[in-house]
Symmetry: C2
Subunit: 339 residues, 2 copies
């Protein structure tokens, strides 16, 4: 299986991207197509002595992190993310992996691959570390104005992913809300609740944000604005707490010794909450596999994202997503004929 990597996308590109790709190739997980500037990539590869399973597809255009995605896409038809996505469309790669601009990656996926089956709104499904292992949250930011039927779609897609790719038998699917009772929420979640309680999945009802990290729900469904805000707040809270603890630790010798002794424990926690362990977040609902990685992804994150891509491809995720029953704009269920 061949995986196309946007080698120029990400804060640590191309070095860490190439390292991750070489590691994945070395483990025989996949054959890798590195899309990017040939001279720059060969320079990186020379240092790494790759064992094979790697090729370079040259392009010298890149869409920057701060570029307006739609504009970037129009102006740079040979940008690395565009070329890598096109390789998937043309069947020359099974998936695309990128740590570059998320907006550009989504735009490329929507324009080049198109939406899958009757899915209206592709969504970013991200793994969150919880006390009971990683759980899925979607949408993490692809859709900022969702109607109830979109949340319904997210639930179906998340359920399928949790089942097929994460191997969870009967995923517990919950709706993120501001109270657990059925009567709680805004117009959007109240509407989604009524749809979800009739949905062909194990709907466990409303889940409050404070309960996500205790890991009792396998799939958390929410609007992309809310999902994105929560994920970013979590990131910020982690950093802020770390800063507060560091300040306090430095205040005395006693606490400095304590911190040194405690280091292995803190490393254990860090490993549990480290996003690089989980690799990338799939954009579910497009006609192909597109794995979105954190902008600051290192080699480890890229290697793990490639593994995720391979698993998605092996499990026939795209075909299965295309077969999902969805809800039409009028809010009526539209059963899929093919299954």
């Amino acid at each position: 299986m061949r995986i196309a990597i946007d080698a120029m996308g990400g804060d640590l590109a191309p070095r860490e991207i190439v390292r991750g790709a070489v590691a994945a190739a070395g483990e025989g997980k996949a054959e890798i197509i590195l899309v990017g500037d040939k001279a720059r990539l060969e320079e990186e590869l020379t240092l790494l002595h790759p064992s094979g399973n790697l090729e370079i597809y040259h392009t010298d255009q890149v869409i920057g992190m701060d570029e307006q995605p739609a504009l970037g896409l129009r102006r740079k038809q040979e940008a690395s993310i565009v070329v890598a996505t096109r390789l998937v469309k043309e069947g020359r790669a099974a998936a695309v992996v990128s740590a570059g601009s998320t907006g550009a990656q989504m735009a490329a996926a929507l324009l080049i691959l198109g939406r899958s089956g009757k899915i209206q709104r592709p969504a970013i499904a991200t793994l969150m570390p919880t006390l009971k292992g990683p759980k899925l949250l979607l949408d993490a930011g692809a859709n900022v104005d969702c109607r109830p039927e979109h949340l319904y779609e997210f639930a179906l897609m998340g359920n399928l992913y949790a089942n097929r790719v994460m191997g969870i038998a009967n995923p517990r699917v919950g709706l993120l809300n501001i109270g657990t009772e059925a009567c709680k929420g805004n117009e959007q979640t109240l509407g989604a609740y009524s749809l979800l309680k009739e949905a062909p999945l194990n709907f466990v009802g409303n889940v409050e944000a404070r309960d996500i990290l205790f890991g009792e729900t396998d799939v958390i469904v929410c609007d992309g604005f809310v999902g994105n805000a929560i994920l970013k707040f979590g990131e910020g809270l982690g950093q802020a707490l770390f800063t507060m603890i560091s300040r306090e630790v430095k205040s005395s010798l006693r606490t400095r010794i304590g911190a040194a002794l405690l280091l292995p424990a803190l490393r254990g926690v860090k490993k549990q909450v480290d996003y690089t362990e989980y690799g990338g977040a799939p954009l579910l609902g497009v006609q192909g596999i597109s794995i979105i990685c954190h902008g600051s992804s290192n080699a480890r994150a890229i290697k793990n994202a490639i593994k995720v891509a391979v698993r998605c491809a092996n499990e026939g995720l795209v075909t299965a997503l295309g077969d999902l029953p969805v809800i039409s704009r009028e809010g009526k269920m539209r059963e899929c004929q093919s299954h």
Copy 2:
């Protein structure tokens, strides 16, 4: 100044509520009216030997945490939160403080006190611990379906509160969003951004959730659904991290010793993020002062909430809020005539 306390509301009521009230009365901050079951409250008071400044207003009805607020209000016209709020309406108390059902407290405030001036949507303004001291976030959950003009109102109310009650000269007001650029966001935040950039306040633009806790913005404005979700996620994340660290700490003698030495530093952090330090969250935009406390408030939280209530009253907050220019339903600014 007299403050009415819903002595029967909260997980630790009436004991901790009475203790907090006695402490505040003892410091001469205010004269306290404890609203609740006379026999029960006298029992608590006997243990505490209060120095005066306290009276009891008897009622034996309480609205429970799990009761439907509107229903509870209709059925229990003599519930402690209703009576306490009525004392404010009648001018017999300057403010009401409660750790009981937030829904019931809001409903009582809206029904009995009514909205302030031309404010359409009263909002809960909560203090968040940040690296640069407590900052204000609103709405924390009073309004789950907001239009841009509601966020505009929240900004004006938050700005006024930060200035008058928190004593910040020219509060930096930010809009919670999923990106910092002006073009980022959903329909609601895009609309709010255009209104806010013309608003008579120090609008600093969009703020991402990851930046809230670094404390560069004094007032963060958001929809109540989003605000509530973020606050609850923060609560859950704190608990989950604590559980993860405890697990790891227990794994060896070395880490257990480390943790013991580190304890003072951790206590320092705990104090920084401890909500009981900040007391309650005012419901801004009603025709009176109503301070909402966390359900699990202890005596310290209640005492601090009473201080907040006194400060709000001394600063003439309600009159000032009533004079704010707001935006009518048509989205057009409606300047206040009185100033």
